[in-house]
Symmetry: C2
Subunit: 193 residues, 2 copies
């Protein structure tokens, strides 16, 4: 399917140059066609962008939800650290997560509302399932604490900081160091002594 090729190229250029910096002619060049031909598949730049955005959202959401559906309430240490590794893997194997991160925090001005809706949606779902997991772990005395909210928000903070580090790719060792450091302190902060 040609429209998937277009979306793939669009994803690449939107990620690197942002919405305003990415041009349809670049994208068309990448798939070997003229920019006008894009209009046979999409209504325009906004339409293309929003479809790429929704694809990225779906990929991220389904990956994360699937991960949590396969874990129990016995091994928070393994499962939480595994989640961080999942995020890193997702980031490296496709550009969608980087695109998603960029557009979540620095959206094109005229699409703020549309993007915000998607971001809030995915955020609420991830936070909800994570919070229920922390709730289970607390009940099972697998971690320290009384409220599930605190470790949930703190963990989401770790995820964000790791993603920022991933954007900043130049140094694989620094990523590893930062992951180890954040995880070590975080786990000590929520585990029993």
């Amino acid at each position: 399917m040609k429209s998937n090729e277009i979306k793939e190229a669009a994803l690449k250029y939107f990620t690197i140059h942002g919405y305003e910096g990415a041009s349809l002619s670049q994208i068309a060049d990448e798939v070997g066609m003229k920019k006008q031909s894009i209009y046979a598949h999409f209504k325009g730049k906004d339409d293309l962008f929003l479809q790429v955005l929704r694809d990225a959202k779906e990929t991220e959401l389904s990956s994360k939800l699937q991960y949590f559906s396969n874990i129990g309430s016995q091994h928070p240490e393994k499962d939480l650290y595994g989640f961080l590794q999942l995020v890193i893997a997702l980031f490296k194997e496709n550009e969608q997560l980087k695109f998603w991160l960029r557009m979540s925090f620095f959206p094109p001005a005229h699409l703020v509302k549309a993007i915000e809706k998607e971001v809030i949606d995915i955020e609420e779902k991830v936070q909800a399932i994570l919070e229920s997991k922390f709730h289970d772990w607390i009940d099972a005395k697998a971690i320290f604490g009384d409220s599930a909210k605190t470790p949930t928000l703190a963990f989401l903070g770790i995820v964000d900081s790791i993603m920022l580090e991933l954007v900043y790719v130049n140094d694989e060792k620094r990523l590893k160091d930062k992951l180890e450091a954040s995880w070590t302190v975080f786990w000590r902060g929520i585990s029993h002594r």
Copy 2:
């Protein structure tokens, strides 16, 4: 000085729309002149951008270094939490930190090298002074741990996640919750029991 007004307007539009999305005519409108007049003060768009960038860098660096120069090695809890509050205050009182954050992680493609140099410079300095503080705190048995690197990197992660939350301004309460959660877990993770 008129060129400061131009830089102020440029900061605003670069922050909101990014480098490619900000136009000289918008910036000129903001200060009540034509875009051609900008060329009486700056060589071009790149020159204007880089001057804004260096101003932002200097503001951030001097604020942070000044904060650390005024603290001792006795009260890490107060001083570290105070640093997070400083970052939040800086973010709210001027746009430079938001601009800096955006351009650090999503720089315009043709200026990547120039921006990277500034980012690495500031990053190394902040990390170095923070690490020396953690070293002192460990020596003074004020916090738990053997290496200063681990808490340093973990704390920088907290700072990053808080800044991301600040970009995402819509919810003041969420910021407060996230700060409290991250800080609570972090402090428990590095303090003695």
